[in-house]
């Protein structure tokens, strides 16, 4: 590995001993010998297995649930439904005072996506839990469902989630997050070219090699230890405490090495119900997603739709950018209102544009609730923005890298959301990329700096 020390040389003392040096990972010896402990590498005597009965429908009213046959099944110890959950409301970001309280732990009266948890079965063996789960009878009245954001936003679309009463999240700023900077319409009017394009993505599953799960052991003093592969320990503690109406000091969470997360393990889904099971049975409980559950049930990256309209001059300056972003939250909010908001903050990309208009919507559909994944809210946006940048460069017959130098933000530039740019390094990154990729640009771009305009 080569560390280029010429960039920003005046901003640091060149006495780094560790940075730039390869060092062995501290966890590797455990990994290569198979000794690293993952949450599931524990086994407690008398441990029960939890299996979830899930909705086979995208949208349905639950007329009734009959667990009597399942309860009689050999090996079954407990069957849980909504009424067993002390506070049956799940709100991932409640710790940082962000709602909404629009989701349940176990379905109560309705299911809003195919795979939604309805009944939890706890049994002596995994097999017994599976067999009993197959005996739970849920009587559903199937309701019309909506799977597409455009359809969901049309008047008369089936309402996905009554909590909201409409198929989008209502921000304090209204139906979307907004950024307004300069006069975008005047910008388009004065532009040499205007290009509007739509970009869309499908949900993406993280597919970690280790599936989501936890093992709970009662400590015998009304305290419970939960071994989990969560990526969000304190969100988990907080939510579990609220859902189970138990003080936090009764909950002992133990994390550790996670077998791949990529953002997919930030939802507090398995822990509250497993701890409840342990509490009500007095037995250790394990709840581990099957591979199918990991792929179908765990939240994916949201599907997104991004409409970008740009005004560009023949000399390469982008003079106006209007972005409308749509984030498909699926049936419940989880992190998506925040993801859509992040999108609003992230557009118009790392470029200095005098006239900007951003609207980002968080839309509800009857799809698997989406949530965090590596740079959610910005990754798909960046894809759209950078494809758009290439198209704009082509439109005006300019080298795509040089086009980006012209528009790159630099220290002191005012960003659209009125935060002055600080510590920019885009120019230098592109200079190095130009060298590394053997993609030469004009000398004047290689002489630029992020520090000051004209430098």
């Amino acid at each position: 590995m080569e560390l280029r020390k010429s960039y920003f040389a005046d901003q640091r003392k060149d006495d780094l001993h560790e940075i730039g040096q390869p060092r062995p990972r501290s966890d590797s010896p455990g990994h290569v010998t198979g000794k690293t402990t993952y949450f599931a590498d524990r086994n407690f005597p008398g441990m029960l297995h939890l299996k979830m009965v899930r909705s086979p429908h995208h949208h349905a009213r639950i007329r009734s649930i009959d667990t009597s046959e399942a309860e009689k099944h050999p090996g079954v110890v407990k069957v849980l439904t909504a009424k067993d959950v002390p506070h049956n409301v799940y709100t991932i970001l409640i710790l940082i005072q962000i709602g909404p309280e629009d989701e349940t732990v176990l379905a109560d009266g309705k299911v809003r996506w195919k795979g939604e948890a309805a009944v939890a079965v706890l049994a002596e063996t995994e097999r017994a839990a599976q067999e009993a789960a197959a005996k739970v009878k849920v009587d559903y009245e199937v309701l019309p469902a909506v799977f597409d954001m455009d359809e969901a936003l049309k008047p008369g679309a089936p309402i996905v989630n009554e909590y909201h009463g409409r198929n989008y999240y209502l921000y304090d700023s209204g139906e979307c997050r907004k950024v307004r900077f300069g006069d975008v319409e005047a910008g388009f009017a004065g532009a040499d070219h205007v290009l509007e394009q739509t970009y869309q993505s499908s949900p993406i599953e993280h597919a970690p090699t280790e599936t989501t799960g936890c093992i709970v052991a009662p400590e015998g003093n009304d305290r419970f230890t939960c071994y989990t592969n969560t990526q969000a320990m304190f969100f988990t503690l907080d939510n579990t405490s609220i859902i189970l109406q138990m003080p936090g000091n009764k909950l002992h969470f133990v994390g550790g090495t996670v077998g791949g997360g990529f953002g997919g393990k930030v939802d507090v889904i398995v822990e509250p119900i497993a701890i409840l099971g342990a509490k009500l049975t007095g037995r250790p409980v394990c709840f581990i997603y099957s591979r199918e559950e990991e792929m179908q049930i765990s939240s994916p990256r949201a599907a997104e739709k991004v409409v970008i309209k740009d005004g560009v001059m023949n000399d390469g300056r982008i003079v106006a950018r209007k972005v409308t972003g749509y984030t498909d939250a699926g049936a419940y909010s989880r992190h998506s209102p925040y993801g859509a908001q992040k999108g609003a903050g992230h557009y118009p990309g790392p470029y200095t544009i005098p006239n900007v208009w951003i609207d980002t919507y968080c839309v509800y559909t009857n799809r698997t609730p989406s949530s965090a994944m590596r740079g959610f809210g910005v990754t798909i946006g960046d894809f759209a923005l950078e494809v758009q940048m290439d198209k704009l460069a082509r439109l005006i017959g300019m080298d795509p890298l040089e086009f980006r130098f012209i528009n790159a933000y630099r220290d002191g530039d005012m960003k659209a959301h009125r935060q002055p740019t600080e510590g920019a390094a885009l120019i230098e990154c592109m200079q190095e990329a130009s060298r590394a990729a053997n993609w030469p640009v004009a000398e004047k771009f290689m002489a630029m700096s992020s520090y000051a305009k004209g430098a």
Binding site: P24, S28, H31, T33, G34, T209, E210, G260, R291
Partner: protein, 160 residues
């Protein structure tokens, strides 16, 4: 519940256990015998994290019934290092940054070991083929491929 005896050699040691009939080898190893180096990533044969070596052949312990292994010789990644000295493959995985979360690592090392046992000087294609049943979601595979090639080279140097 019908318990049945199973007996096999695991990493050089005799093991005998009573298990529920129909238990997979993965569960028997992890929950009964306490060797948690094989990992359960899918229980459907697609991830390879549960790979072990049975009588010299690579097998998926999640799809193998423990009773079918009576009398067999089984190797897992936890049995590779001797006296605290890492096996060349373990060393190479460590040096090449071929582990990130590490969940795939024990299975990868098993698949690589079977390859090197039969093909001491593999080509890159041989390595890719040998690891093709093992999924890694973190590394992008390249460091793993390099680690196996490096281990093969260090083996042949030692042999020379």
């Amino acid at each position: 519940m019908a318990k049945v005896p199973v007996q096999f050699t695991l990493n050089g040691a005799e093991k005998a256990e009573f298990i529920d009939s129909g238990t997979t080898l993965l569960h028997a190893l992890r929950d009964k015998i306490g060797d948690t180096s094989p990992k359960g990533g899918c229980h459907q044969g697609t991830c390879g994290a549960c790979s072990v070596i049975i009588d010299g052949e690579l097998r998926l312990s999640c799809l193998t019934l423990a009773e079918a292994c009576n009398g067999a010789t089984i190797t897992t990644t936890s049995g590779l290092s001797e006296g605290g000295v890492l096996h060349p493959l373990q060393r190479a995985f460590l040096d090449a940054f071929a582990t990130q979360c590490g969940f795939c690592t024990p299975g990868m090392i098993m698949a690589a070991k079977v390859l090197l046992d039969h093909t001491p000087n593999p080509s890159r294609e041989d390595v890719v083929e040998a690891l093709s049943g093992n999924i890694c979601r973190c590394t992008g595979y390249e460091p793993i491929i390099q680690a196996v090639l490096t281990a093969a080279r260090s083996n042949s140097q030692n042999a020379a």
